[in-house]
Symmetry: C2
Subunit: 637 residues, 2 copies
């Protein structure tokens, strides 16, 4: 990292670079022996050009845009940059493994309050790493929420941002560094000391937050090494309470609303692979609805000696009512529940059929004796991912303590939840549940009062699989994995924080495939192929390139002076004329950074000139708006 090569890509000779890359590949081939890695790292500029031209979309507007010479040139330039970065990623594979090793070492188990210090250390490590990468970081404390017994005081959330230029897209990356608890005796090695074995990396967190974060860090580092700047603006949220429902994060997102105003896209890593061949870019998220069936006989509990057998007991009625939700085979009995469900296409059906999945392994992971649909893989997976399912959670208001008491509860609330899939709606399902409960009440002659509550609900999400954004993502993934990518709406991903972010921030979501769905994420011996970690890092870098090619929207309408902000790119442009071989280049860079930081967090160009142009409103307008006005004038004349 310290020997970063600040090459000016525009002036560098492409053929020379290619040669040097091939040489470096040969020299490092003993270190990275994997065939597939080699394949991706020896892609030539011809490959890149071909990829740029062979867009999968054949619509007229796209074709037109592709023929635009300027656009073509820009794409070629970015493709060259990407090529350099991917090579750098290959070269610094060991650094990445070392990063991951360091991260895995933190025992940041969020459900165990005594591990708070470890969580804080992990977050500090991350903050330092981001600061080194020229990010500006902010950490906010998360207040103890009495409703959540797991929440710990002084737990933090980290926000960070890298601002390159107002004319670039801004990507928000969500990551988390907390992990689930471990049962040490079930692991082949210490879960907090990562080991490599049979091409697999073992360690707690490698298939979830930690592994994903390392990919992003490495991709950013390599971009900066090679080009001194990133092709997009990046913002980070790093969560330490992901595994306990991201308590507190939502509060901070709402409070720090302006942090997210300039965000164009959000990206979350997901474990979405189904088989070993095709990466999957999911375009939908499951939702959920938690219901409370309140049955009330009176407002206060009775003593069973006084009232047993004499009153219509709410617990008995609740039992009768809840019983009507599912049949003996545990199938949902709410009429109409599956009407709005998205059906599987033939492709998706075959995808499930080709899944590298064995139900008996899953059964062992869950420690249960028998699973539903154990004999039919497709039906099992369909139930797991694509169909609404019902779970009963418990009863509130009744005796739940060990031992026995003479309480006759007179107001109880049975709780169940339904997993929702596209295109169901919470509101509609709530109505179905209410109707069904009322029907059961009449049918069973229940004498107590019934109320059905919606305790919580979030609609499932789905978005177009053929938008420019998803196409860009697919291009990035396909470029790295060299195989067809499948986009799907009917196989949604269950990632509640994504629904929450979408609800709060309301920007397009990218779900980037990381590991296989059937990998052992939260179980013992969590492991991932080391090749997959490398590929994911490359996908991140490729995604930066692809997103930089999407035309950014003007943000003056949300942040008035946004387009006049000074970013890293401008500073670099100013400094471009310095000799690349000047030994003081690093020093100069930091001087410039300090200058910028001391003037203001977001110094605006207009402020410097405010005395001169204070009366000229026109000049105070952001330059994009000015250009628009000019254009209109030209058209009218």
């Amino acid at each position: 990292m310290k020997n970063a090569n600040y090459s000016n890509t525009r002036s560098s000779s492409r053929s020379l670079e290619l040669r040097s890359r091939r040489e470096s590949l040969r020299s490092s081939s003993t270190r990275k022996p994997k065939a597939s890695q080699r394949v991706s790292s020896i892609r030539t500029s011809e490959d890149d050009a071909q990829l740029v031209l062979s867009s999968r979309c054949r619509c007229e507007s796209c074709q037109l845009r592709f023929q635009s010479a300027a656009y073509q040139l820009e794409r070629e330039r970015i493709a060259a940059n990407r090529r350099n970065v991917l090579k750098e990623i290959d070269d610094s594979f060991d650094d990445m493994i070392s990063d991951l090793e360091q991260l895995v070492r933190f025992q940041s188990i969020s459900v165990e309050p005594e591990k708070l210090l470890e969580s804080c250390k992990a977050l500090d490590w991350m903050a330092n790493r981001l600061t080194d990468l020229k990010f500006k970081t902010y950490d906010y404390p998360i207040e103890n929420n009495p409703a959540n017994c797991f929440a710990v005081p002084h737990q933090k959330v980290l926000f960070a941002r890298y601002f390159s230029s107002p004319s670039k897209n801004t990507l928000l990356i969500y990551g988390h560094l907390d992990v689930l608890p471990v049962q040490t005796d079930c692991w082949i090695s210490d879960p907090f000391k990562m080991i490599a074995k049979d091409n697999l990396l073992y360690g707690r967190g490698v298939t979830s937050g930690k592994g994903m974060i390392v990919g992003w860090l490495q991709a950013i580092e390599c971009w900066l090494k090679v080009h001194s700047d990133l092709p997009i603006n990046i913002k980070f949220i790093v969560d330490m309470l992901h595994e306990v429902g991201s308590t507190g994060l939502q509060v901070h997102i709402t409070a720090k609303n302006d942090f997210f105003m300039d965000v164009d896209f959000m990206v979350l890593d997901v474990n979405s692979w189904v088989n070993n061949v095709n990466p999957i870019v999911p375009c939908s998220l499951t939702g959920w609805a938690h219901f409370g069936v309140e049955v009330r006989g009176a407002n206060k509990n009775l003593e069973s000696g006084l009232a047993s057998g004499l009153v219509y007991e709410p617990m008995i009625d609740l039992c009768h009512l809840m019983n009507g939700l599912v049949n003996d085979e545990h199938e949902i009995q709410i009429p109409g529940i599956e009407i709005n469900m998205k059906r599987l296409s033939t492709v998706e059906w075959h995808l499930l059929e080709s899944a590298d999945f064995r139900t008996y392994e899953y059964r062992e992971d869950l420690y249960v004796r028998r699973l539903r649909f154990e004999e039919n893989k497709v039906e099992f997976l369909q139930n797991r991912w694509c169909k609404p399912t019902l779970t009963m959670h418990g009863v509130e208001g009744a005796d739940s303590h060990p031992g026995w008491r003479r309480i006759l509860p007179m107001k109880v609330m049975g709780k169940f939840s339904i997993k929702l899939v596209p295109d169901q709606e919470v509101k509609h399902v709530f109505n179905l549940v209410k109707d069904h409960m009322r029907f059961l009440k009449t049918e069973l002659g229940v004498k107590t009062q019934l109320n059905v509550h919606l305790l919580d609900g979030i609609d499932p999400l789905s978005w177009a699989t053929d938008s420019r954004l998803i196409k860009a993502v697919c291009r990035a993934v396909e470029f790295v994995y060299e195989t067809d990518v499948i986009t799907t709406q009917a196989i949604p991903v269950c990632l509640p924080i994504a629904n929450v972010l979408q609800k709060l921030i309301n920007k397009p979501i990218i779900l980037l495939p990381y590991s296989k769905r059937i990998d052992k994420h939260h179980t013992e011996n969590e492991s991932i192929e080391s090749l997959n970690v490398l590929r994911h890092t490359k996908t991140c870098a490729a995604l930066f390139a692809e997103l930089s090619m999407l035309r950014p929207k003007c943000k003056c309408n949300v942040l008035y002076q946004y387009c006049n902000l000074r970013g890293v790119q401008e500073m670099l442009d100013t400094e471009r004329n310095v000799d690349i071989n000047d030994v003081n280049v690093e020093k100069k860079w930091y001087q410039f950074k300090q200058k910028a930081a001391s003037s203001d967090a977001h110094p605006t160009r207009s402020r410097a000139r405010s005395t001169t142009y204070s009366l000229k409103k026109y000049l105070l307008l952001p330059f994009r708006c000015k250009r628009k006005i000019k254009k209109r004038r030209n058209q009218s004349t």
Copy 2:
């Protein structure tokens, strides 16, 4: 009490006394205007003699015994004593009311830990009162039981004993001074300031512990006033945690086992009246059995996102299984549950029919909208008292907190209890429940593991209604209430502490009728007829007399030197020759008491002579045993 008349009953002129009683009645008639009180207080010696002769039993052995001249003489003497005491009770009615007033003032609410000091004060009051009545008292701290969240450190239980003579029966009285909490705004006056209104006494505790205790204290005080000694030995247990399940008391009973060795009978006051006419002496207690239906899919809970719809959920199976326990009408569906139940006799059926009871009032007391069997009083009461009933209490192991969580519980335990009535047995019912659950499991095709646990159970109790003890009790009650007493086995009383005491101490139980079953014991505006309090006190005194007439058993086999113990009676016998008009009589009495106390708690006669007769084993034997040996010798010769 200070002007106690230490008359020697054997030497006093009966006719003179009768005259003086009548005079005192006339003089105090303005103070106690109630007709029924007068009736009971002007009973003549002829009445007593008639009562003694008209025993309800006509069996040969009883008739023979009645003809025994010595027995006849003894009965007449005791009847005379009783007459004097009952008159004294009438005279000191105001004292009793004052006692009750003082007791009601203590806010000894056992479910409210902050009222601990009040509880302690109440117990101290009781201990002082008993000490004044020549009782020896012991109080033991009750340790905080973590299983019971209500238990309070330093809460105490009081044991007390009055030992008159080893040749008298020993009665154990159980009483409690704690009360249930109050909703002050629902009362016509301050619940902790007793008031009299429309012949009713209003105050928290008057129909339960406090009212009952005052009756016993007053009966004892009047006996001592009139005769300086009691006709029986008395032991007290005063509990301050009755309303929260008498936590800790059971530990002390087990630990202080020897305290209960010489007990002949236990008496507990119960609210057993059904109509306004007939007092009821119940001869049975309900039992209970608490069950846990454990359904287990795995040993640890799952996350609903991972497993929803894929596993056979224990909560759903539990719902199906519990559903099979009762039908839509809340009737128990366990086959054979009512087989061993004692059926109502015609008398008992008519008793229920004559009950002064309105279901709508009961409904209002419970704050429910509708009751089962609301239209049929007899069926309602039968379900309330005479039939097994089932209550569902809750679910352990499932989510019972407010709000919602993504827990999929994999090991849950549904809890229900069945009230048992004579002659059901816990063991038998447990087998029926297990069989039914297994049947349901097969029927419903439940895939999870099922275990049925018996969490707690105590057999219902019933005892002969025609034993000498119950007959004696009936005689006492009939004498005071001047009406037929109904003894019943088929209408059991629900008084768990009685089952517990019977289990631990294993002596015959007397359930003495106190107030009406349908009185408002635990509800707002708790009240009792003042006449009833007086009558109960008289019944207590009459019971002492009746029990003194039952021939006591020799207790040498349980407490070796018991029959040689020196009691109050012996001391009194020694002092009998002092002049009754001697002003120093009280002083002498206390000197004697002090002497006895200083020598030993239980000085034995044998100890004094131990040096002289140390070699003669025969003489060391208790005198009863000696008599037996003598008798046998006489018979053999």
